[in-house]
Amino acid sequence: MTVRVQTQDFDVGFEISQLRTAHKDAGAVVSFVGQVRDVNEGDTVSQLTLEHYPGMTEKALEAIINQAASRWNIFDTLIIHRVGTLQPTDQIVLVAVSSAHRGDAFKACEFIMDYLKTEAPFWKKEVTPTGERWIEAKQTDDDARERWTK
């Protein structure tokens, strides 16, 4: 398990390759890459700033990975999440999961994203033509997480 919270960008190809070849009996790596969208709720976005809670963030992400690992048969998981000021099309987050068979990696990766979105202490503020604004949490993200508790 690897969790990194950092300001610098990351190399998706390198990270997926490392995760993949670390287990020669892994048949599948499923990954999610999030990028800064140039639009949100109909407004042009020119910049995004990510704040987080140092100390808690890593623990929260590790707890989410541990939950996923207890539910599915997965080999390894990587989460990289950026903080600081980003521009549209910048990468925000990478979640990658390796497993013997694809079903486990798909479920674990989506589970981790759904919990990351609702439990990991990150906050986004965006710049639009009318000024800065904090992004509001979405009910659809809570709903996405709740699916896993049924």
Partner: protein
Amino acid sequence: MKIKLFYFARLKETLKYSTEDLDVPDDVAKTLTILKLKAFLAKRGDVWGQMLMGKLKIRAAINHALVDDNAPITDGDEVAFFPPVTGG
């Protein structure tokens, strides 16, 4: 009772505090919970009341773990208040 407080995102901006060391009075410290602490801090004035006891949804963590309003706070705890998270 001494605790350490952190505020994040919109709360930090509005309260103009990112962290503080709080010496909780004995009458408040007894059976202190997140809700009780919010009510205590809200007495500091308008913006504190609006932020912590108003319409805004506020989440809390004790020692880096998400908790609900009834969670007990003990001496030396690190307590954080913040809006619902929006990472990813």
